[in-house]
Amino acid sequence: MTPHSETELADMITAAKGPLRITGGGTRPIGRVTGDALSTSALSGITLYEPGALTLVAQAGTRVAEIEKALAQENQRLAFEPMDHRALLGTKGTPTIGGVIATNTSGPRRIAVGAARDFMLGTRFIDGSGTIIKNGGRVMKNVTGYDLVKLLTGSYGTLGVLTEVSLKVLPAVSATLTLTLKDLDDATAIKAMSAALSSPYEVTGVAHDPRQSCTYFRLEGFPASIAYRAGELAKKLAPFGAASETKTDWTAIRDVTSFAGKSGDVWRISVKPSDAAALTAKLGADAVQYDWGGGLIWALCPAGHDLRRAMGNTAGHATLVRGTGCGPTFHPEPAPIGAITSGLRAKFDPRNILNTGIMS
């Protein structure tokens, strides 16, 4: 089913006799979901763009590429740098903004500016009963009523099907510069990344690739400004080695392309950066890549590996992004949180038909 309007979509949900599998561009399949496919890809188009107000409103099925193109024409961008999952997951299709928001997909700049959810100003969605609901708006500061916008962002279509999203956008930068440190072990690399993030130099990407033995620090802004900050940052990083300027493909870091085509399960783990190196040492992964200063670990593990057992009591959460893994796709929740979550699902999707089971 591919509805062409919000009302048509609402009618389809109302009329649904069984589970629905909600998709946007179909580039980020996750979990085990069955049901009739319901795609938002035909709900497409930018409905409002005010560069002077840093605001863009688009229908959920609008292609990310179309949005990025419109923004680029005004020298603006989606600051949270949404990852493109196609290479990693081996999917085809075209990413949509609805998919980005439904999965709260961000990139390396998340550590500096926030996640997709932090840029969400408003949304319209259809709940599991077919009711059209709006929340938030198109202004940057808005505390009118409960923030269902955040609740829906990253809910993987389980509370409602997004039909329209309203986003805060930011100016694009005129220049980018990457400093790289070589040959640091994971624990030292994380200390170096923490040092960079604990500086006033506004580092907008901090990643570590153990296989390349490279630790990357990205600076963005006006050329004179990043040249100055690069000099200061290099001084701050001096205890870890001599940082040199390198050409670095941040899109490859963002999209974890180094795991593309490699066999095994792919896990995405969010932890406190200072826990990351010790955790990685006990994961038994074939390869890892660190982003967000160590707070995000991408792990390529043998198929069927029980990564959560390896995590033990380390605070954080692990999501099985690709493969069959062992256990549920999303990190199991403590009982009281699980009760709240099921309670919310029962309210928003009383017939339990929206992406049933995807988040367990």
């Binding site: 609740l151 406190k272 919310l344």
Partner: protein, 477 residues
């Protein structure tokens, strides 16, 4: 503004309630004397007052849990209270409620500079969070005007903003985790020192839920290293439309100032009389602040001043040192006090799309004449968050009602042009009955469904946020 009729059955059980609270809390943590409870009869929205049945001041999460469990069992409504600075009546008691104040819980639990977070008890004031980390060069970004007094608990409840949120975001963008006690006494941990919830973003919906979903007792907050420096520039224009265009041009030029503040003529006149900041007498005054090293600030300000000059300012003043910077901010920071010197005032905080600024200011000016009440506008111009200050005389019969009517008309206008009723103060009781203007019944129903899950008996701060007629069936159940 109406409040629900207090539950007589609950009031009749006061003695029993106080006795049982005294069993689970230290003696000095239960306040039931009729004179003493008056200390809690209102918050920053002083036009409305009502002493609570009693007030409790627990010292830790376990005591909060015990209080809520008891009130849940006895069916007693609970109104959580941070520092009581809400301008929206978020902490206004009802006669049948227990005020749960978190003021005693003000400690720092953990500070971690490597991972850049601080964990505090939520009774801690906003400014003292920064106070705990500034010796190490760090700060906590959200900076509501009341930051000297307001508590993190209230900041989380209202999702508070501040002058610098154009760059740093509001509370929800800086909140990493909470310990929260549900109305039935269950303690839940949500989020923490790691980023982004794994399951549903419960943290996102708790922040800004005005104390209706649970009582947040501890919070993990993101801390940032301070910028090397910051410097403001002041510009004056003869026309608010031009000033609005300057804001748009600055943003479109790719500079992201940390703050863009706007004041209109009535506000400038009042603050000049009060604070003598040396502001130009003009229709619109902008304060734009940027951050970075000296050279970076110079470069950004040069770009901003160029844009400013193109629009023929009547005044353009760059701060050359800290003293001049302080003078530029002096008037803005005195604005509320200055208006308060003239008369009582009501401060609104609707947000509008920046492009609608000239139209909205014009309409507010016209309405000011229609209602016969003066109004001055202070405005976070970068993000569209307005602060019209309507002057009235609380001692003049009917003036408060007239002022409220005028305020409601301004907020309706904000919604009409694509904005919202409240940008950072919260709904509370103040905007509660206007929620219909912004939301359709099904939109409010979806929000209330969330409260049903967290607080099925609707005992937590029940008479706030949702129009009374809309929430009546749930509150009565």
């Amino acid at each position: 503004m109406d409040m629900p009729t207090p539950n007589a059955a609950v009031i009749s059980r006061k003695t029993q309630l106080v006795a049982r609270l005294s069993e689970i809390l230290p003696k000095d943590a239960v306040i039931s004397d009729v004179m003493e409870t008056r200390a809690y009869e209102c918050d920053g929205l002083t036009a409305y007052r009502c002493p609570p049945l009693c007030a409790v001041l627990p010292a830790n999460t376990a005591q909060v849990a015990a209080v809520l469990k008891l009130c849940h069992e006895m069916g007693v409504p609970v109104v959580p209270r941070g520092s009581g600075t809400s301008l929206a009546g978020g902490a206004l008691p009802t006669a049948d409620c227990v005020i749960l104040g978190v003021a005693k819980m003000n400690g720092v639990i953990e500070t971690n500079y490597n991972d850049r977070y601080i964990r505090v008890q939520t009774g801690r004031t906003n400014l003292s969070v920064t106070g705990a980390v500034e010796a190490n060069g760090f700060f906590y970004a959200p900076d509501p005007s009341s930051q000297l007094a307001c508590a993190i608990a209230g900041n989380i409840a209202m999702n508070s903003g501040g002058a610098h949120c154009l760059k740093y975001g509001v509370t929800t963008n800086n909140l990493m985790g909470v310990t929260m006690v549900m109305m039935d006494g269950t303690v839940v941990e949500i989020g923490g020192a790691h980023l982004d919830a794994g399951g549903l973003d419960l943290l996102g919906v708790i922040c800004g839920s005005e104390g209706q979903l649970g009582v947040v007792t501890e919070a993990t907050l993101r801390i940032l290293h301070k910028p090397e420096g910051a410097r403001p520039v002041l510009m004056g224009y003869d026309n608010s439309e031009v000033a609005g265009q300057v804001v748009t041009d600055i943003i479109k030029a790719g500079v992201l100032p940390v703050a863009i503040e706007f004041m209109d003529r009535p506000c400038i006149e009042a603050t000049e009389k009060f604070a003598q900041a040396g502001y130009p007498m003009c229709e619109a005054l902008l304060i734009v602040e940027v951050e970075g090293s000296d050279a970076e600030i110079d470069a950004q300000l040069a770009l901003i001043m160029d844009i400013a000059r193109k629009h023929n300012p009547v005044e353009l003043r760059e701060a050359r040192d800290a003293d001049e910077a302080a003078r530029i901010w002096l008037g803005r920071k005195s604005a509320f006090g200055a208006m308060g010197q003239i008369n009582d005032y009501m401060c609104l905080d609707g947000t509008i799309p920046v492009s609608s600024l000239p139209f909205v200011l014009k309409r507010i000016g016209e309405m000011s004449k229609e209602f016969g009440l003066d109004v001055g506008n202070v405005f976070h111009a970068g993000d569209g968050n307005m602060h019209p200050l309507i002057l009235f005389d609380a001692n003049k019969p009917g003036d408060l009602e007239l002022c409220e009517h005028f305020g409601a008309e301004i907020l309706k206008l904000c919604v009409e042009v694509g904005g919202c009723l409240t940008g950072e103060h919260g709904v509370g009781i103040e905007k509660r009955d206007l929620m219909h203007v912004q939301f359709a019944p099904q939109d409010l129903e979806a929000q209330m469904a969330v409260k049903d899950v967290f607080d099925p008996k609707w005992l937590l701060n029940p008479a706030k946020v949702f129009p009374l007629d809309t929430s009546a069936p749930r509150r009565a159940a």
